[in-house]
Symmetry: D2
Subunit: 414 residues, 4 copies
């Protein structure tokens, strides 16, 4: 009782190994295939086009395989109409729900193609209808935000995705073809990241930063402050640690473990840390501490005075935390999502936790760079589906220093 | 206008470099010292005793330095009485509050020494009094749990700490003298960890496990299940990821990225992951899924059927999450603290986030082993004050396999 | 004035992304291509076949590109005859020499196809002729062994390579499809490596081990000794360090830094190290030390008593060295090459230097496993052309312990 | 039948934990001790002085323990006269030979104290006498250079060592107090390394560089070339790889794996690599290739044209090698030793093998910085006895770029 469907994919299938990945997927899901047609690009720049019949054990398996193939940009030749089912329980998708990719997606409802709002991976697709029953919008929704009565797309029918072409994400990011490596001429990479940020700003888009406390430990705070002043930091996603260490450094001249001015280690400066937290809690918020003159320097100070946004989300290892921190992680995710519209470039620096968290909610269409001294961080990001993520394995402190030299006229560490 | 105080420390000061660390601390805090008396242990096993006068710029600096020195086991010769101040705001300590260590601590109030309940680092000390105004108990309290009107110890006066002697924590853990290293004969270490667990159980204490999803990825789940069956897992602290990957593996035979039976990679099996979450959410809880026969194997299943405790605390990168997960991290920390009484041994496996979180709340008196393939995890734990943490840099899968062979009669992977 | 050539490749081109890599190569070398024919395997198991016309700027560029493509298994449709040039200087190849791959290779000379002896990468191909001028053999030769008058193949004409099919190298090594990862169920991998060794022995082939001093530091020496006894170690390639630490351990019960029996660190045990070296130097050789009863246990002792071969090659950081060590690295390489005939399985453990050195001279047809706690070692091996290398990122001590349990009946660490 | 000896040590024993290490050593060697006198420095800056009686099982054990203690700067109160024994075999020290430290050392022969020439660890001490039998010099000699008839010091009597005081090595290197860490403000460290080099040059001393191929891969070659031009590179120790990749880059614009101008990866560019080697071999030497106009840029070109020295020592993984490479590692070590006189600063960049090799032969009195993105390299160096080594865990490319900006007027990457 096998089920089958005919799918197609077009593009530079040979150059980027996409077709191989597609066939691998089919085998991994226990399916089978016949290549019905394969028009190979004859010359170097010609696109290829493949039509493949996919077979699975039953329709449920087939639907799941088809969803899987969509992450590669493979669509059904005849996608048909989307099927929906009504949520019968808060926070629980109906069986067979369509699990989203982070690609640009369209859904055919009532014979019309609607663009999906806010592409985000691992979500459901919600179809909204007007009073007359006509579909008005389709948007992604995370599991925990689902409410009874919502219409959820089930199965892969009626859904089409578009894979960004390398040129589209590309621009200055040609380098991004390359893999994670610590053996790269980083001075050149610095310039390419700078170009990416300049392009985003030129297009009126926001630059999103995701940072860990290593930004402070490596002495990169002055560089980041300069980048805030120069307008290259529109939003910061971070945790309690980055903000606390930055504030501790501003209040006491130390952060957990390092005397920044003297480049000397200060072992376990817990006590400063906990007092810095208490001080800001007394003020009520970081902004209040800036307004009252208690906090007069550092990254958080710069963000506040330049009216930039930040979303601090807590974690189980937090001390304090700062009053601005979302202690509920699901609420924190919502606050992060609210900042995504208008983002045109994302840079992740020295954090695995918040990088993966941001990668989870970011559309694949936004250029994404991950900078870390640890290759595992970048690898983890790509492994979890942020295939557009490009990694730079380098020293965060020196990298941000160089980036500031590149982007901020007259920048030179005093 | 300098301030000074005479402090003392006793023990094997020379052997373990403690005195050096004490003098380093004084310099780091900008203080000065005179060694008034130093009775050195003449023979190899004799303890030493030092009396030191410490000087700081002013009393505030002095008090902070004295608190710092307490983390080394240095107490005032004449500690005096503890001073308290009343909290005037929820979640904010009074200025100059005593910031705790994770050492056994006593506080002198009303001329009586009271043992501090629940030693935990980076907390305040709360003094409770009866109707007649007599102090009845002193306990640690994290910043965020403070309420207006509570009496908080300020300054270092009236506080004494005891550093655990190596013998006391030691027993089988003589190996723990050694530093983090991947160049260690791990087969021997396996046996020593097994001995530590046996001792804890023999004393009627609980064994606390802290784990990351790597436990599942490395194929160690069967070994951990066997250890649950054999009674060597009383409590598990973890995040959404370990539980979800375990459940995904139980439901679909895969976890994010690995086909465990075939040892083949399954790239980004997101879709299984998100469906496993949805399945358990539909059941309402992990226990409900076990009861209804939906979940029939794996680590979480074993914990539920053996009536063992687990605390799952969420993080910003979570999908779902599982219904059992604390999405508020502060509530999660409280749930973790509630499990600590009776713990006699703690093992942390393949997680940085939850290891540091647990290290933050664990008394220094509980033997603590951290097992990870990444040396940085162990280093980070020790850097943050869990000085009793001993690291084993090894493959988690093979380590737990060996540990099960050691502890579970007849264990052999089928 | 461009040059062009028609090439072909057959096999599972889609499944393993080979064709993509081929087209990438052409672009990287500044060439261009037209796909003349592409017969795609219609069903899952059908092979594909591609015919491609490659264009380069001039013939020199073209020849180099063609050599490059041969590393992928791409051959000229009409390979023609090999051209040779005579070496006019010792140790220097003629211009345009054919630079070899480590694949099975055939060369057409005088209208006959001759199999190349000893496939090895980065060598030249030497054609030997009999008195009558007829070609009798073709073999690889490293640059430094070339002598004036030898006939060296130049250009890519007349050369054909065969890529091993996954099935051919495979057998038990299906796991080898997977990439380097520390997130793998290693217990299963242990069994697969054991199967690979058993197969090699069953076929009458030798098992080659390449090891670093970490074998001794991790306490794996007893396991390796048991494997020697059981016949699973035919040849060992190593440096001065492994042998010295093994002998130091045998003589003094310590190795550089670790007391193996007590699992305690012995910091910088240099003095033992240097005395162990002196002791063996006094005996004249490791074998002499075994014969005279000075060396009575350990890995080197086991190899000597079981008449197994070892090649120890020195490095610039060596103390001593042991009298058996080749201090000239080129002579050492020759000694290693002399051991390769008959090798059917190769395992590399805890060494980057000797792993890369062995990878350089090993034919691609020999199954190759690399075990290290550091992912970078395995990555480096693959990056340098040992594409058959499969990595297992794990603890060497526990891995060899498990391997001994698997392969040696009755093995259990005393 | 125990043996004992009274030893002493002076200095900042408490501050740097030295005394603890000494007592640890005694225990590790199975000895026992009594602290006879301990004059503790009363004020912060006062030195301490300890007199300790050390007991061991027999005189042989005692002598070895005393040698061990000398690595900490512990000397016998009554050192007596040195005893010598005649070498009876080439390359083999007499039993009980004194194994050297890398500290400044003096030896008392014939009632006179002689300074040891060329302090180097793990060597023997050779006493030379004039015709009349009077001792004229004492020098270190590695095992392999020993010849029959030489007089070798045995036992620890008559030998005194001096530990460098932090101030003496220090100067600008105050930062060097701190441990290996990737969480350091590296911009400050760059300046401190620059100061160290300036000081060495100001004192007329040489700056020794030890480098790995990562220098080329990270795009740091232009920075290093600028530093050669500016006079901050007097000697380079490296292997075949650094020189070959540098030359390959100069000849073809690529190195193994990276297109430096475009920051794009070039996978396995073996073929360029092997041709670059062949080209230089044809010229006869690197200098000849510069003279003939074949090699016109890069690091090796800069060293040749500026008349700077380099020592390239081969390893077992080498292709080629370049004609300038010492293929015999013991000869290579000799060539390296010959360059040490006059060195006032040593920097090691992106190499473990050559860093350890240089650490082995370098006196402890020479300031030593090790820069690597991998913390393990630095740790390994310190573990092997180069206690003066200070580590900077950072990106080599950006670090050298910054160092060139700091040291070379007008330097800015074109």
């Amino acid at each position: 009782m096998s089920a089958h469907e005919t799918v197609e994919i077009a593009g530079h299938l040979m150059d980027h190994g996409i077709l191989s990945l597609v066939l691998d997927d089919i085998r991994e899901y226990g399916g089978d295939y016949t290549i019905d047609r394969f028009d190979v690009g004859r010359e170097t720049d010609d696109p290829s086009h493949a039509v493949i019949t996919v077979t699975a054990e039953d329709d449920e398996e087939l639907q799941r395989l088809l969803m899987r193939l969509q992450t590669r940009g493979v669509n059904q030749v005849d996608p048909g109409e989307a099927t929906t089912a009504e949520a019968d329980r808060d926070g629980v998708f109906p069986d067979g729900f369509y699990s989203t990719t982070n690609l640009d997606t369209r859904v055919r409802v009532d014979d019309r193609w609607l663009d999906v709002e806010n592409p985000e991976m691992d979500c459901g697709l919600i179809v909204e209808r007007d009073a007359g029953g006509a579909a008005t919008r389709v948007y992604t929704l995370p599991m925990s935000d689902l409410r009874v009565g919502m219409q959820v797309v089930v199965g892969a029918s009626g859904v089409k995705v578009s894979v960004p072409t390398p040129d589209a994400t590309g621009g200055a990011f040609g380098f991004m073809e390359s893999e994670v490596s610590s053996e790269k001429p980083h001075a050149v990479l610095v310039r390419q990241v700078a170009d990416g940020m300049r392009e985003a700003k030129a297009e009126g888009k926001k630059v999103l930063w995701v940072g860990g406390p290593g930004v402070v430990h490596t002495g990169a705070a002055p560089a980041l402050v300069a980048l805030v002043h120069a307008g290259y930091v529109d939003v910061l996603f971070a945790g309690n640690a980055l903000a606390t260490h930055d504030i501790e450094s501003a209040l006491y001249g130390t952060s957990l473990g390092v005397d920044l001015a003297m480049a000397r280690g200060v072992e376990h400066g817990h006590e400063h840390h906990i007092r810095a937290l208490n001080t800001i809690r007394r003020e009520g918020s970081i902004r209040a501490a800036v307004d009252s003159g208690v906090l007069t320097s550092g990254i958080m100070h710069a963000l506040v005075t330049h009216q930039k946004s930040y979303v601090l989300v807590g974690s189980v290892r937090d001390d304090g935390p700062l009053p601005d921190v979302y202690t509920d992680v699901i609420e924190g995710q919502r606050a992060m999502r609210a900042q995504l519209p208008g983002v045109g470039f994302c840079i992740m620096v020295a954090t695995t936790l918040h990088s993966v968290a941001t990668g989870n909610i970011l559309p694949a269409s936004i250029p994404l760079v991950c900078v870390d001294i640890n290759p595992a961080t970048v690898t983890k990001l790509a492994d979890r589906g942020s295939s557009q993520a490009r990694g730079i394995v380098t020293d965060v402190g020196l990298f941000l220093e160089q980036l500031a030299v590149e982007l901020v006229p007259g920048y030179r560490r005093s």
